[in-house]
């Protein structure tokens, strides 16, 4: 699985399940950080007054998370297809 557009040496032995599990944990925490940051930027504009989220901000955040996760899924499908066509090209 590599975007460097050239054939890589066959990896010696597959990745350990532990390594994969850890990378998934890191991936979700990166996803969470990015989604929170972006929904904050899009939904919370005024920094004066109340320090609670108002009703508008709360519903904006809920919709932002739902749409972000939908985008995550859609981009995942596109990346998968690109990977498969890359592998096909390299006779992988």
């Amino acid at each position: 699985m590599s975007w460097f557009g050239n054939s890589e040496p066959e990896p010696p032995s597959g990745p350990s399940p532990m390594d994969l599990a850890k990378q998934e944990v890191d991936m979700y925490s990166d996803l969470f950080t990015k989604m929170s940051g972006l929904c904050f930027k899009k939904c919370v504009v005024k920094m004066h007054g109340e320090s609670d989220l108002n009703v508008g901000e709360m519903s904006c955040v809920d919709r932002c998370v739902s749409k972000y996760m939908e985008a995550q899924e859609k981009v995942g499908v596109i990346l998968k297809r690109a990977e498969e066509s890359l592998a096909a090209q390299q006779g992988g």
Partner: protein
């Protein structure tokens, strides 16, 4: 996974969470200082800047908790859909 691997994995999970908390702390200061710092004529934050940073930090913490809950709702819903073989 063997008990030792499980132990190691929980250790990683716990260390990752601590890392995330420290990273969020730094991100929060960066974001709110960028948003709220207006001038550099004095070495101290003025009242307006301090108020803005407090509101910014409080709102970001509340937003993060809300995002976590919505994120879990969606993951649970996806698991149920997959179990029921439903493609949303």
């Amino acid at each position: 996974m063997t008990p030792v691997q499980q132990q190691d994995f929980l250790q990683h999970l716990e260390s990752q969470q601590r890392k995330d908390s420290l990273a969020m702390y730094n991100n929060l200061v960066f974001r709110c200082f960028d948003e709220c710092s207006k001038s550099f004529r004095s070495k101290r934050l003025d009242d307006g800047e301090t108020k803005c940073i407090n509101v910014c930090a409080e709102k970001f913490i509340k937003l993060t908790s809300r995002v976590a809950l919505r994120f879990q709702d969606i993951q649970q819903q996806k698991a149920k859909d997959e179990a029921a073989g439903v493609q949303r």
